[in-house]
Symmetry: C2
Subunit: 119 residues, 2 copies
Amino acid sequence: MKVQVLSPADAPFERSPGQDADISVANLVDERHGGPVTVGYGRYGPGQALRETMAVDDVMVVLDGALTITSDGTARTATPGDIVHMPKGETVEIRAHDGGALTAYVTWPHWRPAHAAGG
Amino acid sequence: MKVQVLSPADAPFERSPGQDADISVANLVDERHGGPVTVGYGRYGPGQALRETMAVDDVMVVLDGALTITSDGTARTATPGDIVHMPKGETVEIRAHDGGALTAYVTWPHWRPAHAAGG
């Protein structure tokens, strides 16, 4: 696999699986490419939220907007430049503020096969 | 390990090992914490560059400034919001533009032990 420079404009956003909110994800590097990590972008509509128990280690970088991250009863706000690290096995609620949010994410291992397996 | 929200203000920047340029890195999550990925921030002074053969898979998100990424004879510019995926084994030159740059990075596996091993 070669070095790549990826941009949100290249991202094939689709509805995030397993939930009904206005939240989209776009994998740009994943299990189809033979490497160990999945790389992509996430887009959250205003006020949209998801709650998830992590099937993989997921690192999310906030690029635009703001998110409130709630885990273990603690709510923290993440704004552009902040990194949210969500280790496997942790339960987290991610809620976008009124302006929505754009994120970049990296998961190890690949989240899509782990999700399909019910992890 | 718990969910964490990390910020550049929390980052203990230190000179990037093995080179003399004004380039600093700050691991916030790494092999000391027991998880699979390293997470941190990188800071590049104006015009500073490094050339490296990747010992690990490294994903870098540009947060501020601009970088020119050269690999396999192709130069590409990365600006805020862009993701640079540098797979293990690839050789890459990263050069900051005049305003310098701030990045977030995720590596799998941990880069510091791989680097110490000469990888």
